[in-house]
Amino acid sequence: MLAIARQRMLGQSFKKILPAVSVLRSYSSAAKQITVREALNSALDEEMSADPKVFLMGEEVGEYQGAYKITKGLLEKYGPERVLDTPITEAGFTGIGVGAAYYGLKPVVEFMTFNFSMQAIDHIINSAAKSNYMSAGQISVPIVFRGPNGAAAGVGAQHSQCYAAWYASCPGLKVLSPYNSEDARGLLKAAIRDPDPVVFLENELLYGESFPVSDEVLDSSFCLPIGKAKIEREGKDVTITAFSKMVGYALKAAEMLEKDGIYAEVINLRSIRPLDRSTINTSVRKTNRLITVEEGFPQHGVGAEICASVVEESFSYLDAPVERIAGADVPMPYAANLERMAVPQVEDIVRAAKRACYRSVPLAATA
């Protein structure tokens, strides 16, 4: 059932976004499905094949085949000089990665989760993000920092934080967060090719999910632009922005809202920095209502920035206050019921959308 809904939505969005990809609508064979894991693995494989300067480093990326199997098979294919298992020393190996990027190599540094990136955050911010500016362009840093971000399932407070807002506040970094397999492939390839430091925020719970991908997406030259959001589902009544796993939740919420005659436009941000303010504002000017959705802590979060942007650029178009759905303002609890309360659920998005539409009671669908 979900697959059909997804296909329908994809058909609608492809029509608007990529005329070339209308190949999907005239299919004679079913679209291929790949998991996000396969998408990331194939992207790494292709970029390593295309550019000998690209190399991988991180804990368990080599012989263990990747803590989450994202780098499976790459050590065997490219050898130990290009796939490097590191000791558990984030500050040290991240600094080494940045230094290698200074010299001109293109490291892809894996953090087993982004919680561990805090041990290395000085190198991400001070050694990587700011170098091109401080050196007036002499030292550029073509590095990618990637790994799972945000909540998994039952992993507790120290292993569940979302770092999108922190990294995206820093000039000099680019911050990307894919949702589906197409995003994973296109954005990771773009990140590796980009000459600036890119923080690439994946999601552990999405690794195993399958999504349909077109032939174009599977081509080794496929790449998505950095800084452009995607309208996953068009609508006219309320805009819902989301990234990563929450895109899936927002799409489910949109389906539920449709039954009540509310047509939500779902924007998959894809790029947290640069933020596609243009797409967001254009959408809000159309729908006049906005819900921002994120997994991370609410204060100073991604939604706060989006809300500010819309208030600054499109204030007179807003018919209702901007609503924020975010993770609970508490460290992540372990107990399953509390954890469920600490992370946004589909019902939360639906409820907020109805509030924004001044409709807290479901009405019959209107034309």
Binding site: Y103, Y133, Q138, G227
Partner: protein, 394 residues
């Protein structure tokens, strides 16, 4: 620690200045020639997990005169920076290197511009030894367009990528893993070059240093970690910060060498030795026993945690420029007057560069928004009042 050193080296140096090799021509030309000369270092090297190189250093008149000139230039440059700072033409942080010049010139004499150097914030002289100009130094310190980072970096952020000088880093210790990363890339490129990652006795206790050293040893990286031990981490003496201030031994399984950092020839010998070692056997630590005359930075008088006697004592007994001057004079490579003339010349060079730097304008306002990214993708960036000041990043 430093004081006991002073007495020892003083008595030794006077006996060492007698020429050991008589292959000397009585050239009067101040630029000197390449006829070989062998000089003994002030003290023998102390080694850890390796065999120390010989105390006899091969040099020649040209090299010694170049050492003199370069160090005199650096000395003058740093003293001039002191004045500019007090005149409020230099703002923020300014960490001066006077006293430590021998490390910069000795290292440069042992390597090529294809080898990499990375250091922390006491970087003005290292930048110059890598080929940076005085104009670039003073203009950068004063935040002008002609600065090496176009005025956007400041004292702590000098870079010269075309001669493999990678800065210029403000976060204590961060430059060490970065340097090991450079070494990784050099090994990958197979071009038989090495990286010298410099850090101070204050940074020597940083965890990330040991993390990077561990990886460098595991992966056999051509990384040379150089501890410029000036015995004070800001205001904290080494014995108050390090349980073991034998920094050349702190690598444990990584070999190390302790070097008189005030003796440019000893530095040269050690760096030459280290480069050969690193290319064959992976990382090595060099501890340069050196001294800074100024405080940690211009906001530190440097005399609340050291006695004036100690500072003047080092200046009298171990000054690197005086050592080379005595060497030159005792070998008859130049006269006192000629050396004084060199000092006058470099003083003029420095003054001219300052005058030129003062002429250089401050950066254009549009420069606020350049170089944020290498590839800006046409995104928007904002000033303090985003409705007033916006820019598209190139």
């Amino acid at each position: 620690m430093a004081l006991s050193h002073l007495a020892a080296s003083a008595s030794r140096s006077s006996s060492l200045l007698k020429p050991l090799s008589s292959a000397l021509s009585l050239r009067r030309s101040i630029s000197g020639d390449n006829s070989p000369l062998t000089v003994e270092t002030s003290v023998p090297f102390t080694s850890h997990q390796c065999e120390a190189p010989s105390r006899s250093v091969e040099t020649n008149p040209k090299e010694l005169l170049t050492f003199f000139r370069d160090m005199a230039l650096m000395r003058r440059m740093e003293i001039a920076a002191d004045s500019l700072y007090k005149a409020k033409l230099i703002r923020g942080f300014c960490h001066l290197y006077d006293g430590q010049e021998a490390v910069a010139v000795g290292m440069e004499a042992a390597i090529t511009k294809k080898d990499c150097i990375i250091t922390a914030y006491r970087d003005h002289c290292t930048f110059v030894s890598r080929g940076g100009t005085l104009l670039e130094v003073f203009a950068e310190l004063m935040g002008r367009q002609a600065g090496c980072s176009k005025g956007k970096g400041g004292s702590m952020h000098f870079y010269k990528k075309d001669s493999n000088f990678y800065g210029g880093h403000g976060i204590v210790g961060a430059q060490v893993p970065l340097g090991c990363g450079l070494a990784f890339a050099q090994k990958n490129s197979k071009d038989e070059t090495v990286t010298f990652a410099l850090y101070g006795d204050g940074a020597a206790n940083q965890g990330q240093l040991f993390e990077a050293l561990n990886i460098s040893a595991l992966w056999d990286l051509p990384a040379i970690l150089v501890c410029e031990n000036n015995h004070y981490g800001m205001g904290t003496a080494e014995w108050r910060a390090a349980k073991s201030p034998a920094y050349y031994k702190r690598g444990d399984y990584v070999p190390g060498l302790k070097v008189d950092g005030m003796d440019a020839l000893a530095v040269k010998q050690a760096c030459k030795f280290a480069k050969e070692h690193a290319l064959k056997n992976g990382p090595i630590i060099l501890e340069m026993d050196t001294y800074r005359y100024h405080g940690h930075s211009m906001s530190d008088p440097g005399s609340t945690y050291r006695t004036r006697d100690e500072i003047s004592g080092v200046r009298q007994e171990r000054d690197p420029i005086e050592r080379i001057r005595k060497l030159i004079l005792s070998h008859d490579l130049a006269t006192e007057k000629e050396l004084k003339d060199v000092e006058k010349e470099v003083r003029k060079e420095v003054d001219d560069a300052i005058a030129q730097a003062k002429e250089s304008p401050m950066p254009e306002p549009s420069e606020l928004f350049t170089n944020v990214y290498a590839k800006g993708l046409g995104v928007e960036s904002f000033g303090a009042d985003r409705k007033e000041v916006r820019a598209t990043l190139p």
